[in-house]
């Protein structure tokens, strides 16, 4: 913290405002087209649901060139009478500052949290600046559990298209659920509510200059809350519709930052997750309803081509990270014998092995961590292609059941991770010992006992 103090303009603004009950943060970078709607929804939500509280909206900007900050400071809530505002209504302050340090979402969050702490806020919430589906009720759902019900962390719960959120569905949710034993459905949702207590905990940590400064921030926040025993709940926010991400962004880098954060935290919280088995549901607030969702077109052939190319080109790198049996199964899948695209399946067990092997390799460091994580991209694309092919004719409930099956597989095979984690070298089977089938190995592995 001391190495990264609050910038002087922000400190000055905090001194002028003196104190606030609620701080609502909006990180941004070139979001002039969408941010005004988010600010208006936030202001309306604070006015409608928390009129008696002193609130501040903080925009933490990454140096936008398109007038994002001006849009934040100049937008107005039209037709205020339609919002049925209570009176007396305390004004909602609006601040906008550029953040400093590593460019990324995490650095933006850090500035928001620092301002919230300087204002001694009782509750803080953050929402993305590219949201199209946000409405004033979101603010109530994200803030009220911390302000009135004693929760420390409010995770979002959205309806998303079946092809949306694939990093969440295929890696982050099943892995964090199996590890920490709580079913937080959207651990990297991007919209959160945080209590003052948890906020202080975030700010006292020293790992802000890692992947946490970028896309790793969401999973970092969720994991700390869950692993350190803070009170966690979820709020149903309806649909998540947001503006298309920057097409210049790099999928590999994004995946690398999120998964890298998960794996790094795995080491820190080993004493927590080693002993946990199964998973428990998390309190869910809000009225659940079905919503229409934007369709997401996907190109399965291209994903499969990337996976098969990976099987040919990245064998050398994977051989350092994956167990021989896992590698053999992956190679079989990418080989010429399985060229029928529609029949392609990367089964749950194999995917779970891959993720567990990579997590152990991340700890063991048989090769540089950045390389290890970047080499995950084709495997991830293979899994996504398999998932898309499997659920293309399914409805939302069936898709959710399918994801639940994957989560149960992660939970079932967790003893393997525990065993492999500590005795990584000892448990490494000989190269010649290739199993006859994947299922045969699952049977063997699940008989391992959890180490105390």
């Amino acid at each position: 913290m001391a190495s990264h103090p609050l910038p002087e303009p922000a400190r000055q603004a905090a001194r002028e405002i003196h104190r606030a009950d609620i701080v609502l943060g909006i990180p941004s970078y070139n979001n002039a087209r969408t941010i005004a709607h988010v600010v208006r929804a936030a202001q309306a939500g604070l006015g409608r649901y928390f009129p008696q509280y002193k609130s501040v909206i903080v925009n933490s900007d990454g140096g936008s060139q398109d007038g994002t900050r001006e849009a934040v400071l100049s937008c107005r809530v039209e037709d205020a009478h339609l919002l049925l505002l209570a009176s007396p209504l305390l004004p909602v302050h609006r601040l906008s500052f550029p953040y400093h340090g590593i460019p990324g979402k995490g650095s933006a969050f850090r500035l928001i949290f620092q301002i919230a702490q300087a204002l001694e806020a009782k509750a803080c919430a953050v929402v993305d600046s590219d949201l199209r589906s946000i409405n004033p009720e979101w603010i109530d759902l994200l803030v009220r559990p911390t302000l009135h019900a004693g929760y420390d962390f409010v995770a979002p719960y959205y309806h998303r298209h079946k092809y949306d959120g694939t990093i969440t569905n295929s890696i982050v949710y099943p892995l964090t659920r199996a590890l920490y034993g709580l079913r937080v459905r959207q651990p990297i949702g991007g919209d959160f509510g945080v209590s003052a207590r948890l906020l202080s905990r975030y700010l006292e940590r020293q790992d802000w200059e890692t992947d946490v400064a970028r896309y790793g921030i969401d999973i970092w926040m969720s994991t700390i809350a869950v692993a350190e025993g803070f009170r966690v709940c979820q709020s149903f926010l309806g649909a998540k519709l947001h503006h298309a991400k920057d097409p210049g962004a790099d999928l590999s880098a994004m995946l690398h930052q999120v998964v890298g954060s998960v794996f790094t935290l795995l080491e820190e919280y080993e004493p927590v997750w080693r002993t946990r088995t199964g998973s428990a549901p998390v309190d869910l607030f809000g009225f659940r309803y079905d919503v229409g969702l934007d369709p997401i077109p996907v190109n399965v052939e291209r994903m499969l081509a990337a996976f098969r190319r990976g099987c040919e080109d990245l064998r050398e790198v994977w051989a350092l990270a994956l167990q021989p049996a896992t590698l053999a199964a992956v190679r079989d899948l990418g080989g010429p014998a399985s060229r029928s695209p529609r029949a392609f399946r990367l089964e749950d067990e194999l995917w779970t092995w891959i993720v567990f092997d990579l997590a152990c390799a991340h700890r063991r460091r048989p090769l540089e961590r950045g390389l290890l994580l970047r080499s995950l991209t084709p495997l991830y694309l293979g899994r996504v292609a398999s998932f898309v092919l499997e659920v293309e004719d399914c409805f939302a409930e069936q898709v959710e059941e399918r994801i639940e099956r994957l989560c149960l597989c992660f939970e079932k095979l967790k003893p393997r991770l525990v065993a492999q984690w500590r005795g990584a070298e000892e448990s490494r089977p000989a190269r010649a010992g290739r199993p006859s089938s994947v299922a045969a190995q699952v049977g063997e592995i699940t008989t391992l006992e959890v180490q105390p």
Binding site: D164, T168, K245, P247, V258, R302, R365, S375, T377
Partner: protein
């Protein structure tokens, strides 16, 4: 006749005994030195093996990622390698000391040459190891980068990087040893020059179609939505 034969034999025996008397103490001393060196080498190998294992050098190399670029398997055997290096270094030093006992022109020249070349050998070995390390590291980085950037032939690119860096290391090491300096240098220049020419031609010829396609197609904003779908996944 017999007297003459006896005289010759006596003279031969005298010369032999003189030779034995001259060289035997030296040979015995050399033998003792060699035995001592062997014992010392065995002791050093055993102790170094234990010490490096004890302080976890292999673990450090593995965890710092250095092992993965030094070995293909990522499972280093540094303790064993260092212990073996110490063993052979002591044996060679013992042999040199043993040879110097005889104090002949030949042994002195051999000892001098080895002592002069030893630092160069060490330096050349360090250059070679660093070169191999760099070749592995950059080779793997190029492999993964080229793959994720969707470049053609990532493995060949990676191999090319490895070969060029390894050859550069070999040329530098050979230069240190004054061994085939011109040959290695010429080979290196030819290889890098050839690679640059081939790369230039490939990019030049290959990009003709790419540039034409780019000009024929519209701006990136007009790309179909599915092109973006991969990014829109968090």
């Amino acid at each position: 006749m017999i007297e003459a034969l006896e005289k010759v034999l006596q003279e031969a025996l005298a010369r032999l005994s003189s030779l034995v008397m001259t060289y035997l103490p030296g040979a015995l001393a050399a033998l003792v030195i060699m035995l001592a060196a062997l014992l010392l080498a065995l002791l050093a190998r055993w102790m170094l093996g234990r010490i490096f294992k004890g302080i976890g050098v292999d673990r450090f190399l593995r965890q710092s990622g250095i092992a993965s670029v030094l070995t293909r398997s990522g499972q280093p055997r540094t303790s064993r390698v260092i212990a073996a290096a110490a063993y052979w270094a002591i044996l060679v030093a013992g042999a040199l000391t043993a040879l110097s006992v005889f104090d002949t022109q030949l042994t002195t020249r051999m000892t001098d040459a080895l002592v002069r070349v030893f630092p160069k050998l060490i330096l050349a070995a360090v250059i070679l190891v660093c070169g191999l390390w760099l070749a592995q590291l950059l080779g793997r980085s190029v492999l993964v980068w080229a793959f994720n950037e969707n470049l053609p032939w990532p493995r060949r690119l990676s191999l090319a990087v490895r070969v060029i860096i390894t050859l550069a290391a070999v040329a530098t090491a050979a230069d240190q040893l004054d061994f085939g300096r011109q040959v290695f240098l010429a080979a290196f220049i030819l290889l890098v020059g050839g690679a640059a020419l081939a790369g230039g031609l490939a990019v030049g010829l290959g990009s003709r179609d790419a540039v034409r396609r780019y000009l024929e197609t519209k701006a990136p904003e007009d790309q179909p939505r599915e092109e973006r779908s991969l990014w829109d996944h968090l």
